[in-house]
Amino acid sequence: METVIKQSGKTQVFKDKANKVMGISLEDAKLTKSYLSVAFLAILLGGILGLLQGLNRAGMLELPAWLNYYQVLTAHGLLLVVVLSAFFTIGYFYAGLSHTLGGLLPKVRKMAWIGFWMKVFGFVLAVIPILMNEASVMYTFYPPMAASPVFYIGLVFIVLGVWMCAFGSFINVASWRKKNPGQHIPILSFFATGVFVLLFFGSIPVAIEVFTIIPWAFGWVETINVMVARTLFWAFGHTLVNIWYLTAVSAWYVIVPKVIGGRRWNDLLTRIVVIALVIMNITGGFHHQIIDPGISEPVKYMHVFMSLAIGFPSLMTAYAMFAVFERTARKKGGRGLVGWYKKLPWGDVRFLAPFIAMAAFIPAGAGGIVQSTNQLNQVVHNTMWIVGHFHLTLGMSVVMTFFGLSYWLIPYVSKRVLTPQINKLGVIQTIIWTLGMIIMSGAMHWVGLLGSPRRTSYSTYFDNATALSWDPYLFFLAIGGTLLMIGVLMQVYAVFYLMFFAPKGNTEFPIAEVEEDEAPTPRWTERWGLWVVCMIVLVGMAYVIPLVDFIVNAPPGSPPYKTW
């Protein structure tokens, strides 16, 4: 029999009370506010660039001579994929660590600040060459396209900044565990640990990639092994995707049940989902390379299994979420097979936005499974379908969850309250965003199936009939993009209003409790070192065969190309 330990002890009860009475400490609040401010400024800038890009891609707007499509694309990708996601994730989880672990350690807070400035510095370094049109390599910055070396040096600082935050969180969690023997890491900090483990291990491959690119971009070495670089990039690229996703999932499991007045799903199963996602994630990178030459068919076949395995914890999540909704709604008197849905708080943006985010993950996840399948991937790989897919996953499932979180997280850290007017604004924003994203992403999926390529600026290909037939769909892309821009403006207004102008007051950090009759969680879920070892073994299984092949049987390397 596995030994089990109690869920909560006296220390925890005391800290919970202290946190409830006093709220977050001013210093911890300042840290999270800074991270979130950068995140939402990034969404504002990224959104404007996205609109420009969408209008240009639909053939409705000519960009000025000093700004080209690929420049805008690179900046849009970097702002939203790297800056928004990393800053929001870190700001949110550091508030969570502070709340659930009884405040950040001074040392950890300092590390998070150093990380903050390293990331900002790195980002400024990366942006300069983009503005100078020296780094229009897009977010997927792998060879053979080469940017200015300054761009890659900027990326190094971003990675180092992320590592500072990851180690900060590990130190805080370890110190808490020492002070609270026999207790489980509070669930939100457990999610944070998983996310930071992934952030650290997922960014090792990209660090290696960037260190091999820098001498090549400087011209110190003539060629680079493209397949190795791409593989290292995607080991990171895919993990990054799942880091945002795991961040959103943490809110679905922990926050949303509290917002709707219910209890959270089984603690053990929740922790198993986190552990499974951490162990299996990095190897998912290969499904981004299904049509890459140089990877043998058996290896690709193996990776279909490895990728689809990641879908399993997501299916567990889908089940868990709807079970929680139904259970809560029935407790409130909901009736019927599906009639209980009426009892959910649809007018509360803190529920509505994450709910639509979850619902969006149904088609988004299904699309992901489609793309992991060899034959289907051949059809959609280089088309707008993929762009539609990641706007559904990142732009809806993840970002709408982040939006939903912001309506209580920002008042919580700024010691203010959510007003009914802002809640209403949030609900309208959610509807506009949903419509915008459905229209844009739907059009992208469809036009992708008709063959419209991604990573390509607008062209009618000498008025070719097929290319012209894409135009009506591209208009929808522009319409959706315009709605999204309105959504961005409303969201950014709400965020800064809640941060600086909303009425003062206390906002609760909503963490749902487990069901009362739930069996205690076994202790083995806390053995993080073991999960990391399992992850390393799995990464070894996935990467040893192809990497040895790429390196030993390497073709002549590629010189740097500037295609723009």
């Binding site: 030994t3 330990i5 565990r177 020492k178 023997p181 026999g182 058996p298 202790r523 806390e526 070192g529 073991l530 990391v532 070892v533 390393i536 073994v537 990464v539 070894g540 299984m541 040893v544 065969i545 990497l547 040895v548 092949d549 030993v552 049987n553």
Partner: protein
């Protein structure tokens, strides 16, 4: 409630099936790092059956777990040799021995020994295999000649890196268990 031995037997039978065996044996690294560990795992699952059937045997011959550990190690070391892999592919008798020895002479004794062993022996076993894997990794990667008649040099190098990465994971585990005192958290 004796489900696990049945699963173990099913796993063993599945691995014996010619298409499965041929597939796994067609690539050197899956032969050694997938088929062989899976055979040991099938033995781990089946151990309960033998423990219940012959309790006297195990308590008499494997009282403190060390004999079982020794038998496991000998069998594993034997199957780490390039020559034995080659023979398994050429001689049916050796192939049969592989399917018997790994589950029943490695998996079963390991399962019986593990709970009986002190943490010293457990760590000693992991350290021993870490060193062995590093040495084998070195051998397979930097050997100037083809070690197996049945596998190409590239496969040999791949297997070598497989050994090194597994050894790395074990080193991480050892560091983790050295620095972590679980009694502090309980």
């Amino acid at each position: 409630m004796m489900k696990s031995p049945v699963y173990g037997l099913l796993l063993l039978l599945a691995l014996i099936l010619p298409p499965a065996a041929n597939l796994l044996e067609s690539i050197m690294i899956t032969h050694m790092h997938m088929q062989m560990p899976l055979l040991v795992i099938s033995g781990l699952f089946m151990a309960k059956f033998f423990q219940n059937r012959f309790p006297g045997f195990f308590s008499k011959w494997n009282e403190n777990g060390v004999p079982g550990l020794l038998l496991f190690s000998i069998i594993m070391v034997y199957w780490s040799l390039p020559r034995t892999m080659d023979e398994a592919l050429t001689l049916t008798s050796v192939e049969v021995f592989k399917f018997i020895s790994l589950p029943f002479l490695a998996g079963v004794p390991l399962r019986d020994s593990w709970p009986k062993l002190s943490s010293f022996w457990k760590h000693a076993l992991i350290i021993f295999f870490t060193i062995l894997f590093l040495a084998l990794g070195w051998l397979y990667i930097w050997s100037p000649v083809q070690l197996c008649n049945n596998y190409l040099v590239i496969e040999q190098i791949t297997l070598g890196w497989g050994f090194i990465s597994t050894a790395f994971a074990m080193v991480v585990y050892l560091i983790y268990s050295y620095f972590m005192d679980f009694s502090k958290y309980e």
